[in-house]
Symmetry: C2
Subunit: 344 residues, 2 copies
């Protein structure tokens, strides 16, 4: 997992030694971070803005497989997943707390890799790491992150504001992270059955990066602001388009029509799906982990956004009674089904 061949046992450091080492490189970006790590709690000052809070739990064997997930990428992704939720409120992330459960298989060097990835994400997105908890674990790696952000009240976008005739938009493209995962899983199986085999990742760099190094769409939030568009509802795509559409519809009390031929797919996603005998559209509907933004806008904002290369208009909002449908390329109407994990 690590190029560095030094191995320092965590048991030689103990809790306080480990925390001290890990927190050395933390850089504070915000005056609103009055006090970061090192006390019973962090102290923050948002001077009258709304505070936005989200949290995510990542567990080894459920959310990631360390046999192909580099630790630094994992740390980076763990932060991104949370920042994405803050952006999906049309808010700005400011602080994160990080809790780690570490089994004895992890050395100090391994933990430093995870932390380096987290701090890289924090520095790139100007977010302060202000606290956390570090614990032994009997069961592999546990990562729990909470992110805090701020927004002016008028800027916040919830899931419940979509209204009939709004346009449904999505940033970037979908399904890539899931295809990257399928590819990595396949190559792992090949490797396990024949350790001499070289991984066949030629021309698949994009989908692998979508899985291993997703980026929260801060840029899209900035674009919408500069275009003078405030979405009527918004959610980030963590569980797949299908689930997220259901959330917007149920919370807004509306229906939706989504047009299959408008769903943005990268050619690598499309090709990988074909290679694996999967319907490419299904990778977008059910794949998840793309961390793109799915949002509705008023029809009057159409002209402002129609030529934006980062955003696709994929459907429109209907009355709730009309239900939630995918209009296939051949023009057939299919009712969308709820997804979400069933991993239990």
């Amino acid at each position: 997992m690590l190029e560095n061949s030094t191995r320092t046992e965590l048991s030689s450091l103990g809790e306080f030694g480990l925390i001290q080492l890990l927190t050395t490189h933390i850089k504070i970006h915000h005056a609103s971070t009055n006090k970061g790590v090192g006390d019973d709690a962090a102290v923050l000052d948002y001077s009258g803005k709304k505070t936005v809070v989200t949290t995510d739990l990542l567990l080894e064997g459920i959310h990631f497989d360390l046999s192909y997930f580099p630790l630094k990428h994992l740390g980076y992704k763990a932060i991104m997943v949370n920042l994405s939720d803050i952006y999906a409120m049309n808010a700005t992330p400011k602080q994160v707390t990080v809790s780690l459960g570490l089994s004895s298989k992890f050395s100090l060097e391994a933990v430093e890799e995870i932390y380096a990835g987290m701090l890289m994400a924090c520095n790139r997105f100007e977010v302060d790491l202000v606290g956390g908890d570090t614990s032994a674990s009997k069961q592999g790696l546990v990562i729990s992150i909470t992110a805090l952000g701020i927004a002016d009240e008028g800027d916040l976008v919830y899931r419940n504001g979509a209204k009939v005739n709004d346009l449904l938009c999505v940033s970037g493209d979908l399904g890539g992270a899931y295809m990257g995962l399928q590819l990595l899983e396949r190559e792992k199986k090949v490797f396990l059955s024949n350790p001499e085999a070289q991984p066949d990742l030629e021309g698949k760099d994009y989908i692998i990066e979508r899985q291993l190094k997703p980026e929260a769409r801060r840029d899209v939030i900035a674009t919408l602001k500069s275009l003078g568009i405030k979405p009527t509802s918004m959610i980030d795509v963590s569980d797949g388009l299908s689930s997220e559409v259901m959330h917007l519809c149920s919370q807004s009390g509306v229906g939706m029509n989504i047009f299959e031929d408008k769903i943005p797919l990268d050619p690598q996603t499309y090709d990988m799906a074909r290679e694996l005998d999967l319907d490419p559209t299904l990778t977008a509907l059910s794949g998840g982990e793309d961390y793109e933004l799915l949002f509705t806008i008023d029809q009057n904002d159409f002209e402002k956004i129609k030529n934006n290369p980062d955003v696709s208009i994929i459907g429109h909002v209907t009355e709730a009674a009309e239900g939630i449908h995918l209009i296939s390329k051949s023009g057939n109407k299919h009712a969308l089904k709820a997804q979400g994990w069933k991993a239990f």
Copy 2:
């Protein structure tokens, strides 16, 4: 673990079904909770106060053993551990987020027990549960909680304000939670070797309760306020008196003398230690999980607090060069050693 004999598999509910069921009974206490569960993030409004954030990770097999820890108590304790950190800043807890990792051995009824304990704690301490994450786990139960609180800037108490000649105080008594744990571990071993044996818990209710149902010392914070005392430094006792004293000293740049005969021990703690051939003082120094408040006050506040039954004055602050010492009952000086877990 449960009296109720119904067992609903989590797999029959899926993620969204489980979340919907669990969040039904959440009650919102604060106007500052603008939006709780149900969106990408919660929205909070503290109108100009300082925000205080803390987080704790609890892992099965490390922090608790479900063979003797009732699930409802576990949920309650998980919340308390975090509220205790907020009080240790002299702040008021307002909101929590809760993430759960659940393996397939847990039924819906089991998860509802955990949640019931959490909500009981939230309701008693008037704290809003505003979000979280629920995930499958391959490795038993994972609980990650983040608590948010508020305070006026002038009220906050850090670990770094202790000054020479301040008095060192602690609330309640120490070592009980650790003795409760030792007792429960012993009875577990007895049970495993002879399932017919009845547990011998007679006259040990207090130490068991200290382990299974700790209470964050909101009352002590209120008492100090009503007495007009603002501590110069404060920390909660989660790792044992010894560790917490070291933290206050290193962050304040001072030394301390602690008097062994002033350390408050409950008779049940004392007796249990004797029964197990342990030094009773050591249970306080190294035991942990008491969630009492350890704080320093200015000497001028002595008269205000000297007769308070909830607070013991156990030592005083010295120059850093004098070091950190325990003065034994026989008058000998022993240098205190750093503790903290070594569970890796």
